[in-house]
Amino acid sequence: MSMTPYLRPGLAKPAPSRDGLDTAFWEGLQQEKLLLQRCNGCNRWQWGPEWVCHRCHSFDLRYEETAAEGIIYSHERIWHPVHPALAEQGPYVVVLVELPHADGVRIVGNLVGDPHQPLVIGAAVHAVFEHHLDDDPVHTLLQWAVS
Protein backbone atom coordinates (compact mmCIF):
# COMPACT_ATOMS: atom_id res chain seq x y z
CA MET A 1 0.00 0.00 0.00
CA SER A 2 1.40 3.34 -0.97
CA MET A 3 0.43 6.68 0.42
CA THR A 4 0.72 10.37 -0.14
CA PRO A 5 3.70 11.89 1.63
CA TYR A 6 3.14 12.39 5.35
CA LEU A 7 5.35 15.47 5.62
CA ARG A 8 5.53 18.42 3.29
CA PRO A 9 8.31 18.29 0.72
CA GLY A 10 11.67 19.91 1.27
CA LEU A 11 13.33 17.86 3.99
CA ALA A 12 16.59 16.12 3.18
CA LYS A 13 16.01 12.98 1.10
CA PRO A 14 17.63 9.74 2.21
CA ALA A 15 20.33 8.20 0.06
CA PRO A 16 22.16 4.94 0.69
CA SER A 17 25.38 5.36 2.57
CA ARG A 18 28.35 5.73 0.24
CA ASP A 19 30.11 2.84 1.92
CA GLY A 20 27.17 0.59 1.06
CA LEU A 21 26.33 -0.30 4.64
CA ASP A 22 22.59 0.31 4.31
CA THR A 23 22.03 0.10 0.54
CA ALA A 24 20.03 -3.14 0.80
CA PHE A 25 17.71 -1.56 3.36
CA TRP A 26 16.83 1.37 1.13
CA GLU A 27 16.46 -0.81 -1.98
CA GLY A 28 14.23 -3.19 -0.02
CA LEU A 29 11.83 -0.41 0.91
CA GLN A 30 11.33 0.38 -2.77
CA GLN A 31 10.17 -3.23 -3.16
CA GLU A 32 7.93 -2.84 -0.08
CA LYS A 33 10.15 -5.17 1.89
CA LEU A 34 11.68 -4.46 5.28
CA LEU A 35 15.22 -5.82 5.09
CA LEU A 36 17.38 -5.58 8.19
CA GLN A 37 20.76 -6.95 9.19
CA ARG A 38 20.97 -10.52 10.47
CA CYS A 39 24.16 -12.17 11.57
CA ASN A 40 25.33 -15.33 9.85
CA GLY A 41 27.45 -16.08 12.90
CA CYS A 42 24.80 -16.07 15.64
CA ASN A 43 21.62 -15.60 13.59
CA ARG A 44 20.53 -12.58 15.62
CA TRP A 45 19.07 -9.39 14.15
CA GLN A 46 20.81 -6.05 14.38
CA TRP A 47 19.74 -2.45 13.71
CA GLY A 48 20.92 0.27 13.03
CA PRO A 49 23.36 -0.97 10.50
CA GLU A 50 26.93 -1.73 11.43
CA TRP A 51 29.83 -3.60 9.87
CA VAL A 52 30.16 -6.11 12.68
CA CYS A 53 27.74 -8.08 14.83
CA HIS A 54 27.86 -6.51 18.28
CA ARG A 55 27.17 -9.88 19.89
CA CYS A 56 29.56 -12.34 18.21
CA HIS A 57 31.79 -9.94 16.29
CA SER A 58 31.22 -11.69 13.00
CA PHE A 59 31.64 -9.52 9.93
CA ASP A 60 29.33 -11.91 8.08
CA LEU A 61 26.02 -10.07 8.19
CA ARG A 62 23.24 -10.45 5.63
CA TYR A 63 20.13 -8.41 4.92
CA GLU A 64 16.99 -10.46 5.51
CA GLU A 65 13.32 -9.60 5.23
CA THR A 66 11.36 -9.31 8.46
CA ALA A 67 7.67 -8.76 9.08
CA ALA A 68 6.86 -5.10 8.66
CA GLU A 69 4.88 -4.91 11.86
CA GLY A 70 5.74 -3.95 15.38
CA ILE A 71 4.69 -2.10 18.48
CA ILE A 72 5.17 1.52 19.50
CA TYR A 73 8.16 1.66 21.87
CA SER A 74 7.97 5.42 22.23
CA HIS A 75 6.57 8.42 20.42
CA GLU A 76 6.66 12.18 20.12
CA ARG A 77 4.32 14.80 18.75
CA ILE A 78 6.43 17.58 17.28
CA TRP A 79 4.99 21.09 17.12
CA HIS A 80 7.79 23.56 16.61
CA PRO A 81 9.17 23.58 13.05
CA VAL A 82 12.96 23.56 12.95
CA HIS A 83 13.11 23.45 9.16
CA PRO A 84 11.52 25.89 6.68
CA ALA A 85 9.80 23.01 4.86
CA LEU A 86 7.75 22.34 7.98
CA ALA A 87 6.73 25.95 8.64
CA GLU A 88 3.12 25.25 7.59
CA GLN A 89 3.12 21.56 8.53
CA GLY A 90 1.51 21.78 11.95
CA PRO A 91 2.07 19.01 14.47
CA TYR A 92 3.37 15.66 13.28
CA VAL A 93 4.16 12.39 14.96
CA VAL A 94 7.38 10.39 15.08
CA VAL A 95 7.30 6.88 16.50
CA LEU A 96 10.00 4.50 17.59
CA VAL A 97 8.78 1.06 16.57
CA GLU A 98 10.02 -2.12 18.18
CA LEU A 99 10.08 -5.15 15.89
CA PRO A 100 9.29 -8.31 17.87
CA HIS A 101 10.02 -10.52 14.85
CA ALA A 102 13.57 -9.19 14.64
CA ASP A 103 14.85 -9.55 18.20
CA GLY A 104 13.15 -6.33 19.23
CA VAL A 105 15.34 -3.96 17.24
CA ARG A 106 13.86 -0.49 16.79
CA ILE A 107 13.26 1.72 13.80
CA VAL A 108 12.08 5.32 13.42
CA GLY A 109 9.21 6.53 11.25
CA ASN A 110 6.11 8.70 11.23
CA LEU A 111 2.74 7.51 12.52
CA VAL A 112 0.35 8.27 9.68
CA GLY A 113 -3.16 9.58 10.25
CA ASP A 114 -4.48 12.34 12.45
CA PRO A 115 -1.50 14.05 14.09
CA HIS A 116 -3.68 14.64 17.14
CA GLN A 117 -4.48 10.95 17.59
CA PRO A 118 -3.73 9.42 20.99
CA LEU A 119 -0.21 8.01 21.12
CA VAL A 120 -0.04 4.73 22.98
CA ILE A 121 3.15 2.93 23.94
CA GLY A 122 2.64 -0.75 23.19
CA ALA A 123 0.10 -0.22 20.41
CA ALA A 124 0.46 -2.56 17.42
CA VAL A 125 1.46 -0.87 14.16
CA HIS A 126 2.11 -2.00 10.61
CA ALA A 127 4.24 -0.54 7.88
CA VAL A 128 3.08 1.82 5.17
CA PHE A 129 5.51 2.38 2.32
CA GLU A 130 5.74 5.99 1.21
CA HIS A 131 7.24 5.93 -2.27
CA HIS A 132 9.13 8.80 -3.84
CA LEU A 133 9.95 6.99 -7.07
CA ASP A 134 10.06 10.09 -9.26
CA ASP A 135 12.34 11.86 -6.85
CA ASP A 136 16.07 12.37 -7.01
CA PRO A 137 17.34 10.30 -5.35
CA VAL A 138 14.62 7.70 -5.72
CA HIS A 139 13.62 6.57 -2.27
CA THR A 140 10.89 5.07 -0.14
CA LEU A 141 10.15 6.05 3.44
CA LEU A 142 8.96 3.48 5.95
CA GLN A 143 5.90 4.82 7.75
CA TRP A 144 3.62 3.22 10.31
CA ALA A 145 -0.11 2.99 10.94
CA VAL A 146 -1.96 1.74 13.99
CA SER A 147 -3.23 -1.79 13.27
Partner: protein, 394 residues
Protein backbone atom coordinates in the same frame (compact mmCIF):
# COMPACT_ATOMS: atom_id res chain seq x y z
CA UNK B 1 43.01 -1.20 46.94
CA UNK B 2 43.20 1.29 44.15
CA UNK B 3 43.29 4.44 46.23
CA UNK B 4 46.03 5.94 44.12
CA UNK B 5 43.87 5.62 41.01
CA UNK B 6 41.63 8.54 41.79
CA UNK B 7 41.29 12.23 41.11
CA UNK B 8 39.93 12.86 44.60
CA UNK B 9 41.48 15.99 46.01
CA UNK B 10 44.31 16.09 43.47
CA UNK B 11 43.32 19.32 41.73
CA UNK B 12 41.36 22.43 42.59
CA UNK B 13 39.61 25.31 40.88
CA UNK B 14 41.21 28.64 41.72
CA UNK B 15 39.53 30.99 39.26
CA UNK B 16 36.34 31.22 37.20
CA UNK B 17 34.85 33.73 34.79
CA UNK B 18 32.34 34.18 32.07
CA UNK B 19 31.84 36.85 29.46
CA UNK B 20 28.63 38.72 29.32
CA UNK B 21 25.99 36.23 28.28
CA UNK B 22 23.92 37.03 25.22
CA UNK B 23 20.87 35.67 23.49
CA UNK B 24 22.13 33.86 20.36
CA UNK B 25 23.28 36.21 17.64
CA UNK B 26 23.57 39.18 20.00
CA UNK B 27 27.27 38.95 20.81
CA UNK B 28 29.18 41.92 19.41
CA UNK B 29 32.30 39.76 19.45
CA UNK B 30 33.25 36.67 17.46
CA UNK B 31 33.56 33.34 19.22
CA UNK B 32 37.34 33.21 19.55
CA UNK B 33 37.46 36.67 21.09
CA UNK B 34 34.85 35.55 23.60
CA UNK B 35 37.01 32.54 24.46
CA UNK B 36 40.05 34.73 25.05
CA UNK B 37 38.05 37.09 27.24
CA UNK B 38 36.75 34.23 29.38
CA UNK B 39 40.22 32.73 29.84
CA UNK B 40 41.68 36.12 30.77
CA UNK B 41 38.81 36.70 33.15
CA UNK B 42 39.32 33.36 34.89
CA UNK B 43 43.06 34.03 35.21
CA UNK B 44 42.33 37.45 36.71
CA UNK B 45 39.84 35.89 39.09
CA UNK B 46 42.50 33.41 40.17
CA UNK B 47 45.26 35.98 40.29
CA UNK B 48 47.47 34.07 37.91
CA UNK B 49 49.48 35.34 34.95
CA UNK B 50 47.84 33.97 31.75
CA UNK B 51 51.36 33.26 30.48
CA UNK B 52 51.56 30.52 33.11
CA UNK B 53 48.57 28.62 31.75
CA UNK B 54 50.02 25.50 30.15
CA UNK B 55 46.93 23.46 29.35
CA UNK B 56 43.50 23.79 27.76
CA UNK B 57 40.59 21.40 28.05
CA UNK B 58 37.29 21.70 26.23
CA UNK B 59 34.56 19.56 24.67
CA UNK B 60 31.99 19.25 21.93
CA UNK B 61 34.46 20.06 19.16
CA UNK B 62 35.07 23.55 20.48
CA UNK B 63 36.29 25.70 17.60
CA UNK B 64 38.63 27.79 19.75
CA UNK B 65 41.81 25.84 19.14
CA UNK B 66 44.07 25.31 22.14
CA UNK B 67 47.26 26.12 20.24
CA UNK B 68 45.79 29.34 18.92
CA UNK B 69 44.67 30.30 22.42
CA UNK B 70 48.09 29.51 23.83
CA UNK B 71 49.73 31.65 21.15
CA UNK B 72 47.25 34.49 21.47
CA UNK B 73 47.76 34.65 25.22
CA UNK B 74 51.53 34.37 25.05
CA UNK B 75 51.62 31.27 27.21
CA UNK B 76 55.17 30.18 28.00
CA UNK B 77 54.43 26.68 26.81
CA UNK B 78 51.60 24.32 25.99
CA UNK B 79 51.76 21.10 28.00
CA UNK B 80 48.25 19.73 27.59
CA UNK B 81 45.53 20.15 24.95
CA UNK B 82 42.45 18.01 25.28
CA UNK B 83 39.03 17.73 23.73
CA UNK B 84 36.46 15.44 25.30
CA UNK B 85 35.08 13.30 22.52
CA UNK B 86 31.52 13.75 21.28
CA UNK B 87 28.50 14.12 23.40
CA UNK B 88 27.75 17.83 23.08
CA UNK B 89 27.23 19.22 26.57
CA UNK B 90 27.96 15.76 27.92
CA UNK B 91 31.61 16.75 27.92
CA UNK B 92 31.32 19.57 30.45
CA UNK B 93 32.44 17.62 33.49
CA UNK B 94 34.54 15.34 31.32
CA UNK B 95 36.65 18.34 30.42
CA UNK B 96 37.10 18.99 34.15
CA UNK B 97 38.10 15.35 34.58
CA UNK B 98 40.65 15.59 31.79
CA UNK B 99 42.13 18.78 33.23
CA UNK B 100 42.31 17.33 36.75
CA UNK B 101 43.84 14.12 35.39
CA UNK B 102 46.51 16.07 33.53
CA UNK B 103 47.41 17.94 36.69
CA UNK B 104 47.26 14.86 38.91
CA UNK B 105 49.58 12.91 36.63
CA UNK B 106 52.10 15.67 36.16
CA UNK B 107 51.29 16.36 32.53
CA UNK B 108 50.48 20.01 33.17
CA UNK B 109 50.59 22.61 35.93
CA UNK B 110 47.75 25.01 35.19
CA UNK B 111 44.87 23.94 32.95
CA UNK B 112 41.99 26.10 31.79
CA UNK B 113 38.68 24.38 31.12
CA UNK B 114 36.66 26.51 28.77
CA UNK B 115 33.76 26.63 26.34
CA UNK B 116 32.96 29.34 23.83
CA UNK B 117 29.86 29.58 21.67
CA UNK B 118 28.67 32.13 19.19
CA UNK B 119 25.58 30.58 17.66
CA UNK B 120 24.99 33.77 15.76
CA UNK B 121 28.37 33.39 14.08
CA UNK B 122 28.28 29.66 13.47
CA UNK B 123 24.67 28.53 13.39
CA UNK B 124 22.04 27.55 15.90
CA UNK B 125 21.83 24.23 17.69
CA UNK B 126 18.06 24.27 17.66
CA UNK B 127 17.61 24.21 13.90
CA UNK B 128 17.50 21.23 11.58
CA UNK B 129 20.11 20.77 8.84
CA UNK B 130 19.30 22.23 5.45
CA UNK B 131 20.99 19.74 3.13
CA UNK B 132 19.10 18.37 0.12
CA UNK B 133 20.24 14.79 0.70
CA UNK B 134 21.28 12.82 3.74
CA UNK B 135 22.99 9.47 4.12
CA UNK B 136 24.34 7.39 6.97
CA UNK B 137 22.68 7.21 10.36
CA UNK B 138 20.89 10.53 9.95
CA UNK B 139 19.12 9.19 6.84
CA UNK B 140 17.14 6.92 9.15
CA UNK B 141 15.69 9.79 11.19
CA UNK B 142 15.96 13.14 9.44
CA UNK B 143 13.55 12.51 6.52
CA UNK B 144 10.89 11.74 9.14
CA UNK B 145 11.29 15.19 10.66
CA UNK B 146 13.34 13.92 13.61
CA UNK B 147 16.13 16.45 13.30
CA UNK B 148 16.80 18.47 16.45
CA UNK B 149 18.12 17.68 19.89
CA UNK B 150 14.64 18.08 21.32
CA UNK B 151 13.37 15.48 18.86
CA UNK B 152 16.20 13.10 19.69
CA UNK B 153 15.46 13.15 23.41
CA UNK B 154 11.69 13.60 23.77
CA UNK B 155 11.04 9.91 23.02
CA UNK B 156 13.40 8.88 25.85
CA UNK B 157 11.54 11.13 28.25
CA UNK B 158 8.10 10.02 27.05
CA UNK B 159 9.09 6.40 27.60
CA UNK B 160 10.45 7.14 31.09
CA UNK B 161 7.34 9.11 32.05
CA UNK B 162 5.17 6.28 30.76
CA UNK B 163 7.11 3.60 32.61
CA UNK B 164 7.10 5.43 35.93
CA UNK B 165 3.93 7.52 35.88
CA UNK B 166 5.78 10.84 35.90
CA UNK B 167 3.56 13.90 35.57
CA UNK B 168 4.21 17.10 33.66
CA UNK B 169 4.36 18.99 36.94
CA UNK B 170 7.70 17.34 37.75
CA UNK B 171 9.24 18.81 34.60
CA UNK B 172 7.58 22.14 35.35
CA UNK B 173 9.17 22.30 38.79
CA UNK B 174 12.64 21.98 37.23
CA UNK B 175 11.93 24.86 34.88
CA UNK B 176 10.42 27.05 37.59
CA UNK B 177 13.43 26.49 39.86
CA UNK B 178 15.87 27.62 37.17
CA UNK B 179 13.83 30.71 36.37
CA UNK B 180 13.36 31.57 40.05
CA UNK B 181 17.09 31.35 40.70
CA UNK B 182 17.87 33.42 37.61
CA UNK B 183 15.91 36.32 39.08
CA UNK B 184 18.64 36.66 41.72
CA UNK B 185 21.47 36.44 39.17
CA UNK B 186 22.26 39.64 37.23
CA UNK B 187 24.37 37.62 34.75
CA UNK B 188 21.35 35.55 33.73
CA UNK B 189 19.85 36.24 30.31
CA UNK B 190 16.42 35.62 31.87
CA UNK B 191 17.09 37.95 34.82
CA UNK B 192 14.04 40.13 35.14
CA UNK B 193 11.86 37.63 33.29
CA UNK B 194 10.23 35.49 35.97
CA UNK B 195 8.18 32.42 35.14
CA UNK B 196 5.16 31.07 36.97
CA UNK B 197 3.06 27.95 36.68
CA UNK B 198 0.41 29.60 34.54
CA UNK B 199 2.93 30.95 32.05
CA UNK B 200 4.63 27.56 31.84
CA UNK B 201 1.32 25.76 31.31
CA UNK B 202 0.27 28.25 28.65
CA UNK B 203 3.55 28.10 26.76
CA UNK B 204 3.56 26.37 23.41
CA UNK B 205 4.72 22.83 22.85
CA UNK B 206 8.08 22.42 21.19
CA UNK B 207 7.74 18.67 21.15
CA UNK B 208 5.66 16.83 23.71
CA UNK B 209 6.46 16.57 26.63
CA UNK B 210 8.62 19.71 26.30
CA UNK B 211 6.98 23.09 26.51
CA UNK B 212 9.03 26.10 25.43
CA UNK B 213 10.23 26.55 29.01
CA UNK B 214 11.46 22.95 29.25
CA UNK B 215 14.08 23.74 26.60
CA UNK B 216 17.46 25.40 27.04
CA UNK B 217 18.22 28.73 25.50
CA UNK B 218 20.50 29.33 22.54
CA UNK B 219 23.23 31.76 23.57
CA UNK B 220 26.51 33.44 22.75
CA UNK B 221 29.33 33.83 25.23
CA UNK B 222 32.21 32.00 26.84
CA UNK B 223 33.12 30.60 30.22
CA UNK B 224 36.37 29.36 31.75
CA UNK B 225 37.80 27.94 34.93
CA UNK B 226 41.41 27.61 36.07
CA UNK B 227 42.66 24.42 37.72
CA UNK B 228 45.96 23.78 39.49
CA UNK B 229 47.26 21.07 41.82
CA UNK B 230 45.83 20.81 45.31
CA UNK B 231 49.20 21.73 46.79
CA UNK B 232 49.47 24.89 44.72
CA UNK B 233 45.82 25.84 45.22
CA UNK B 234 46.50 26.92 48.78
CA UNK B 235 48.56 29.85 47.47
CA UNK B 236 45.62 31.56 45.77
CA UNK B 237 43.09 34.07 47.08
CA UNK B 238 40.05 31.80 46.89
CA UNK B 239 39.62 28.98 49.31
CA UNK B 240 40.45 25.98 47.15
CA UNK B 241 37.50 24.26 45.52
CA UNK B 242 38.67 20.69 45.17
CA UNK B 243 37.68 18.23 42.50
CA UNK B 244 36.45 15.31 44.59
CA UNK B 245 35.46 13.26 41.57
CA UNK B 246 34.99 13.70 37.85
CA UNK B 247 34.03 10.91 35.48
CA UNK B 248 32.46 10.42 32.09
CA UNK B 249 31.02 7.57 30.09
CA UNK B 250 27.86 5.82 29.06
CA UNK B 251 26.05 2.52 29.26
CA UNK B 252 26.38 -0.64 27.18
CA UNK B 253 25.86 0.35 23.54
CA UNK B 254 24.59 3.83 24.39
CA UNK B 255 25.69 4.83 20.91
CA UNK B 256 23.74 2.11 19.10
CA UNK B 257 22.42 3.78 15.95
CA UNK B 258 18.81 4.74 15.22
CA UNK B 259 17.61 4.81 18.84
CA UNK B 260 18.63 1.21 19.53
CA UNK B 261 20.44 1.73 22.81
CA UNK B 262 19.18 -1.02 25.15
CA UNK B 263 18.75 1.29 28.15
CA UNK B 264 16.67 3.74 26.16
CA UNK B 265 14.65 5.67 28.74
CA UNK B 266 17.69 7.00 30.50
CA UNK B 267 19.78 10.12 30.97
CA UNK B 268 22.88 7.96 30.51
CA UNK B 269 24.27 8.11 34.05
CA UNK B 270 23.52 4.61 35.34
CA UNK B 271 27.14 3.49 35.01
CA UNK B 272 28.66 6.95 35.52
CA UNK B 273 27.01 7.89 38.83
CA UNK B 274 28.28 4.85 40.80
CA UNK B 275 31.83 5.55 39.62
CA UNK B 276 31.41 9.20 40.55
CA UNK B 277 30.32 8.44 44.10
CA UNK B 278 32.99 5.78 44.53
CA UNK B 279 35.71 8.24 43.56
CA UNK B 280 34.27 11.02 45.73
CA UNK B 281 33.74 8.62 48.65
CA UNK B 282 30.38 10.28 49.03
CA UNK B 283 26.74 9.50 48.36
CA UNK B 284 23.76 11.52 47.16
CA UNK B 285 22.78 12.47 50.72
CA UNK B 286 26.13 14.28 51.05
CA UNK B 287 25.39 16.64 48.15
CA UNK B 288 24.41 20.12 49.30
CA UNK B 289 23.56 21.61 45.93
CA UNK B 290 23.12 20.19 42.41
CA UNK B 291 23.78 21.75 39.03
CA UNK B 292 22.16 19.43 36.49
CA UNK B 293 22.41 20.17 32.78
CA UNK B 294 19.12 21.20 31.28
CA UNK B 295 19.16 20.60 27.59
CA UNK B 296 15.58 19.67 28.41
CA UNK B 297 13.92 19.31 31.81
CA UNK B 298 13.21 15.63 31.18
CA UNK B 299 16.93 14.96 31.10
CA UNK B 300 17.35 16.65 34.47
CA UNK B 301 14.54 14.53 35.88
CA UNK B 302 16.23 11.29 34.77
CA UNK B 303 19.66 12.57 35.89
CA UNK B 304 18.32 13.19 39.39
CA UNK B 305 16.97 9.64 39.50
CA UNK B 306 20.13 8.07 38.11
CA UNK B 307 22.31 9.97 40.57
CA UNK B 308 20.23 8.48 43.37
CA UNK B 309 18.50 11.57 44.76
CA UNK B 310 15.12 9.87 44.47
CA UNK B 311 13.70 6.78 42.84
CA UNK B 312 11.77 6.92 39.58
CA UNK B 313 8.60 6.25 41.53
CA UNK B 314 9.30 9.20 43.86
CA UNK B 315 9.77 11.76 41.08
CA UNK B 316 6.31 13.33 41.34
CA UNK B 317 6.71 13.92 45.07
CA UNK B 318 10.37 14.91 45.03
CA UNK B 319 10.50 17.28 42.08
CA UNK B 320 8.69 20.28 43.50
CA UNK B 321 9.67 23.93 43.35
CA UNK B 322 10.03 23.97 47.13
CA UNK B 323 12.45 21.04 47.17
CA UNK B 324 14.52 22.41 44.31
CA UNK B 325 14.81 26.01 45.53
CA UNK B 326 17.77 27.62 47.24
CA UNK B 327 18.56 28.26 49.96
CA UNK B 328 16.53 25.79 51.97
CA UNK B 329 15.13 23.19 49.57
CA UNK B 330 15.96 19.52 49.97
CA UNK B 331 18.05 19.63 46.80
CA UNK B 332 18.69 23.17 45.53
CA UNK B 333 18.96 22.83 41.77
CA UNK B 334 20.58 25.02 39.11
CA UNK B 335 21.10 27.92 41.44
CA UNK B 336 22.44 30.31 38.78
CA UNK B 337 19.43 29.75 36.56
CA UNK B 338 21.29 27.09 34.60
CA UNK B 339 21.00 26.48 30.89
CA UNK B 340 17.31 27.37 30.92
CA UNK B 341 17.55 30.81 32.43
CA UNK B 342 21.15 31.91 33.06
CA UNK B 343 22.85 30.94 29.81
CA UNK B 344 23.34 27.91 27.64
CA UNK B 345 27.13 27.91 27.63
CA UNK B 346 26.98 24.22 26.81
CA UNK B 347 26.75 23.64 30.55
CA UNK B 348 30.10 25.02 31.65
CA UNK B 349 28.23 27.72 33.53
CA UNK B 350 26.89 24.92 35.74
CA UNK B 351 30.42 23.92 36.72
CA UNK B 352 31.25 27.55 37.51
CA UNK B 353 28.12 27.86 39.62
CA UNK B 354 29.08 24.73 41.58
CA UNK B 355 32.46 26.32 42.34
CA UNK B 356 30.81 29.56 43.43
CA UNK B 357 28.61 27.59 45.82
CA UNK B 358 31.70 26.10 47.44
CA UNK B 359 33.25 29.57 47.63
CA UNK B 360 30.07 31.04 49.11
CA UNK B 361 29.74 33.41 46.16
CA UNK B 362 26.51 32.27 44.49
CA UNK B 363 23.68 34.72 43.95
CA UNK B 364 21.46 31.95 45.38
CA UNK B 365 23.86 30.72 48.01
CA UNK B 366 23.08 27.51 49.85
CA UNK B 367 24.28 28.07 53.44
CA UNK B 368 27.45 26.18 54.27
CA UNK B 369 27.59 24.37 50.95
CA UNK B 370 30.51 21.94 51.19
CA UNK B 371 29.67 19.52 48.38
CA UNK B 372 28.39 20.63 44.97
CA UNK B 373 27.64 18.23 42.13
CA UNK B 374 27.41 18.84 38.39
CA UNK B 375 25.76 16.51 35.89
CA UNK B 376 26.63 17.32 32.28
CA UNK B 377 24.62 16.67 29.15
CA UNK B 378 21.99 14.05 29.93
CA UNK B 379 20.79 11.71 27.16
CA UNK B 380 23.88 12.12 24.96
CA UNK B 381 26.89 9.82 24.95
CA UNK B 382 29.24 10.11 26.68
CA UNK B 383 27.81 12.06 29.61
CA UNK B 384 29.85 13.20 32.58
CA UNK B 385 29.53 14.29 36.20
CA UNK B 386 31.75 15.88 38.78
CA UNK B 387 31.71 16.72 42.46
CA UNK B 388 33.43 19.73 43.96
CA UNK B 389 34.16 20.06 47.65
CA UNK B 390 35.54 22.49 50.17
CA UNK B 391 38.66 21.94 52.26
CA UNK B 392 36.49 20.32 54.92
CA UNK B 393 35.50 17.50 52.58
CA UNK B 394 39.01 16.21 51.94
Amino acid sequence: MTTDRTLRGKAAVVGVAETEYYKWGRSPDPEFKLAIAAVLGACANAGIDPADVDGFSSYSNDRSDASRLSAALGCKQLSFASMQWGGGGGGGSGAVANAAAAIATGQAECVVVFRALAQGQFGRFGQGPRSRMVSGTAAHTLPYGLMSAAHSFAMKVNRFMHDHGVKQEALRAISLASYAHAQQNPRAVMHGRPLDEAAYDASRWIVEPFHLFDCCQENDGAAAMVLVSAERAKDFDHNPCYVLAAVSGSQHRAGAPVHNTPEYASSGFTTVAPRLYRMAQLGPSDVDVLQSYENFTGGVMMSIVEHGFCSAEEVNDFLTLENLSAPSGTLPLNTSGGNLAECYMHGLGLNIEAVRQIWGESTCQVPNAEVAMVGSGPMVTPVSSCIFGSEATL
